[in-house]
């Protein structure tokens, strides 16, 4: 059976799998024996220590070593309930979002473990449902955005509920029976809460990028036909209807599940990028690739790990007619990467991406801590796929080889998704899209004209063949999907 791994490798070609290359080194970092590696959050302290919050309660800390097996973990804090968000202020102060609250951990006496567990804010409720985990990002002004997940029909509610209970919000596959489930809340530096945006199912990953844009992914399921990636703005509704019951403006007599689909679609803000199931099935923490080329050629782009796949997607965003949209492809897939990719952080020198994994209680067990280090050898791939008035511009990371600019090298399909009360969704209205022209703009850039370029959330899926670099390397990934919300004017 020696040929078996080769066979598997062959089957992966042509899917979204990345070709094996020498650009990123993957290593697995063990925890002390017996410690359940269910990584709810990861971060770095100003002095360069890595901090890992485990969902069973412990917050561990270690100084990274070159040898991934030599981390010496010690306990910074313990006793937290499903900690899934973290912000490190200093070596002595760490904020954690756990099931019931946003908690500030302070190591007052400087002995390396927290003495104070301060309740910063706990404006959301708890129905008692296991699915209601939270993620959190600092707002850069001393406050926080907290993503409050909904409950699952695979679990119950309690007779005695923390916060308010809504009978109407209790209906649905994933539901919002307790206060503010399915929302992003803003908590200012004084602990005051402002409801920010609604319509989320399981936004297990929110992120504030270097330009101040707030982003959130979500998990495909009810009201999410496929995995969306949202540009989050105050006051917007993003499609999962149960959360509406907590909108102070909402008429409590109206069950949002009974609204006509057209009305929901009218109210809803579209995703900037729709990721087909081949790209991601459960978006977790997004992260922007730092400036410079210390982590490869994609500085400024956003990586989106998959909690339900052995992969991390790469997002190419642009603003078209005032609205964010763009393309996605695979950044790293399989090749030893675990499932359950949940939280990510760059090392202080930006050369290494630490990936924490967990999916216990949500799906099959997949857990651990891994790291990807850039080797300095740039991959050959499409750096950016962007929209033109007549099609797409593909900018490569390196010089294109001979003959890349052939119409027959590129195939397009387009499809759309519908968000309904049913779980997930297949691509709808799938059609082949003809490439009508192709031009080589410069040594690294191609422009393609396509038929039927239309706005309104169509996903244009592109595959390619016979494209190689001038030095003979094949393209790292084979599948790109661009979500066209608006056309270029």
């Amino acid at each position: 059976m020696k040929s078996f791994p080769l066979l598997v490798a062959c089957l992966l070609v042509g899917s979204a799998a990345v070709a094996q290359d020498a650009s990123y080194k993957l290593e697995t970092i063990p925890f002390p024996e017996g410690v359940p590696p269910e990584v709810g959050a990861v971060g770095f302290t100003p002095s360069g220590k890595i901090v890992v919050a485990l969902r069973r309660s412990d917050v561990l800390i270690a100084t990274p070593t070159e040898d991934p097996k030599k981390f010496e973990w010690s306990l910074f804090a313990s006793g937290l309930h499903n900690a899934c968000g973290m912000h490190i202020v200093s070596d002595k102060e760490i904020l954690i979002s756990q099931m019931p609250e946003l908690t500030r951990l302070i190591d007052e006496d400087g002995d390396g473990s927290a003495d104070i567990y301060e309740n910063v804010a706990s404006p959301w409720g708890m129905s008692g449902n296991y699915h209601e985990t939270n993620h959190m990002v600092p707002d850069g002004k001393g406050g926080y955005f907290v993503a409050v997940g909904t409950a699952s029909h695979n679990g119950p509610v309690f007779y005695n509920v923390r916060g308010e209970y809504s009978k109407v919000g209790r209906r649905g596959r994933n539901f919002s029976a307790a206060s503010w489930k399915g929302w992003i809340l803003h908590i200012d530096a004084e602990g005051n809460m402002t409801p920010w945006a609604s319509g989320f199912r399981m936004h297990n990953g929110i992120y504030l990028d270097s330009k101040g844009n707030l982003w959130a992914g979500d998990n495909q399921g009810d009201w999410k036909g496929t995995t969306p990636f949202y540009h989050v703005e105050k006051g917007n509704f993003y499609g999962h209807v149960s959360s509406l019951v907590w909108d102070p403006e909402w008429n409590p007599e109206i069950d949002p599940l009974t609204l006509p689909l057209e009305e929901i679609n009218e109210m809803k803000t579209d995703a900037a990028i729709l990721l087909p199931h081949e790209m991601n099935r459960s978006a977790s923490e997004p992260i922007e690739i730092p400036e410079g080329d210390v982590f490869g050629p994609y500085a400024g782009q956003i990586l989106l790990p998959d909690n339900n796949g052995e992969r991390i997607a790469r997002l190419m965003l642009e603003k078209v007619d005032g609205v964010f949209q763009g393309a996605c492809t695979q950044f790293y897939e399989a090749e030893g990467l675990h499932m359950g990719n949940n939280r990510v952080v760059f090392s202080p020198d930006n050369t290494t991406l630490y990936v924490g994994q967990t999916s216990r209680g949500w799906g099959p067990v997949a857990e651990g801590l891994q790291r990807l280090t850039y080797t300095g050898e740039a991959p050959f791939d499409i750096h950016t796929m962007s929209l033109t008035k007549t099609g797409f511009r593909l900018t490569y990371t390196g010089e294109l080889g001979e003959g890349a600019e052939k119409v027959e090298n590129f195939s397009f399909r387009r499809f759309r998704y519908e968000d309904t009360s049913l779980y997930g969704g297949d691509p709808l209205d799938v059609s082949e899209i003809k490439v009508t022209d192709i031009r080589k703009v410069d040594g690294k850039t191609l422009e393609l004209d396509v038929e039927n370029l239309e706005p309104g959330g169509w996903v244009y899926e592109m595959t390619m063949k016979n494209v190689a670099s001038a030095d003979g390397r094949s393209q790292r990934t084979g599948l790109f999907c661009y979500t066209v919300n608006k056309l270029k004017k």
Binding site: R56, Y117, S127, P156, V157, Y159, N160, G172, R360, V365
Partner: protein
């Protein structure tokens, strides 16, 4: 050996079978985590609810039975009932002598037990497969309940035993391994550290209260010793005792099932989950209280005449709850309990013990 006694033993075994490693005691893959008197274990998680009354959980909202829902069809036949659990509490284990469940919503000690701490398997799942228990994923108490809170908040401030409504949890500070909980209520600022006392089953609460008025303490149903208040600092020692009929090991005491009896009825009241809706202390729950029910006249929805709550009425209400629904309670809330005649009689006898004299 019944399952609860087995868990009790497992709790003791965990001290041997899952020794804590090194200086740092990480929460390990053991689903039976325990601390010691010197290094207590703090764990925030879902907690079992041994049948606490609405008066104790007055700052919680009520969850309700919901119609089963199908994403494709909407509401379908059948119901999904809530389960018993405490959502926002903090547990502390001091080894086999004492475990406490202190709630950050009510800001009070809800219950205490001895023998073990929690069996987390329902929630954390089996170590290898990760399989969590479906709808009943609440961790289980290991050991024997020795204190269960009753009545309103034990602390009274402002010269009266005023009810502590809407306390605000501020967090806790770990002092020599023991958390000192901090909350405010109105203008009062309260810190309380809870530890095992010197007597078996005793619990000591060390208070530091800054309040504009005098501070009083009253614990319903337990003997207490309170030290003098020195500038807002005082201690209260609660003498716990095995709690019968509330999910502790003590409930497993032998009772005969040969013929109907009160003890059997009390066990059924817990085991069948009657306690989730029907209180025994007069507080209003999802269903009418059992306190003072037997022999009284009950107003029924849709009937002009009141009905006397006698054996026949109680038997009918157990087997066919929709036949007579007490006014102001939702119809169809209680499922029928098709239990045997001896069980029904035992429950009725138990309810009778709660009648007004």
């Amino acid at each position: 050996m019944n399952s609860r006694n087995l868990l009790f033993l497992l709790g003791l075994l965990s001290l041997v079978a899952f020794p804590v490693a090194g200086e740092d005691r990480f929460i390990t893959l053991s689903n039976l985590p325990m601390g010691t008197r010197e290094k207590p274990l703090v764990l925030r998680t879902y907690f079992p609810d041994p049948g606490l009354t609405r008066e104790v959980l007055s700052n919680h909202d009520l969850g309700y039975r919901a119609r089963k829902y199908s994403p494709g069809k909407g509401d379908v036949d059948g119901f999904v009932d809530p389960i018993l659990g405490i959502p926002g509490a903090i547990g502390v284990n001091f080894g086999p002598d004492l475990s406490i469940c202190w709630d950050a919503t009510e800001c009070r000690l809800l219950y205490a037990w001895r023998g073990g701490f929690l069996d987390m398997t329902n929630y954390w799942g089996e170590p290898e497969s990760g399989r969590r228990k479906g709808f009943g994923y609440i961790p289980e108490l290991v050991g024997e309940l020795i204190f269960v809170a009753k009545g309103s908040h034990p602390l009274g401030i402002f010269d009266q035993y005023t009810e502590i409504l809407a306390p605000e949890f501020k967090g806790y500070r770990v002092i020599d391994g023991v958390p000192e909980f901090h909350y405010t209520v109105g203008e009062a600022d309260v810190r309380v550290k809870i530890e095992p006392g010197t007597e078996p089953m005793s619990i000591v609460k060390h208070y530091t209260v800054k309040a504009p008025g005098e501070v009083g303490y009253y614990e319903t149903g337990y003997k207490i010793k309170k030290t003098d208040d020195k500038d807002g600092t005082f201690s209260v020692t609660i003498q716990g005792k095995p709690v019968v009929g509330m999910g502790g090991a003590a409930e497993e005491q032998e009772y005969s099932t040969e013929k109907p009896n009160v003890e059997w009825g009390a066990a059924l009241y817990t085991n069948l989950g009657c306690l989730a809706c029907h209180s025994t202390d007069g507080t209003r729950g999802h269903g009418p209280t059992f306190a003072g029910l037997y022999g009284e006249e009950v107003p029924i929805t849709g009937m002009d005449e009141k009905v006397i709550a006698d054996d026949a009425y109680i038997e009918e209400s157990i087997v066919n709850p929709t036949a007579k629904v007490v006014e102001s309670y939702p119809p169809g809330y209680m499922p029928p309990y098709p239990i045997g005649k001896k069980e029904i009689k035992s429950l009725t006898m138990f309810i009778k013990t709660l009648a007004n004299e």
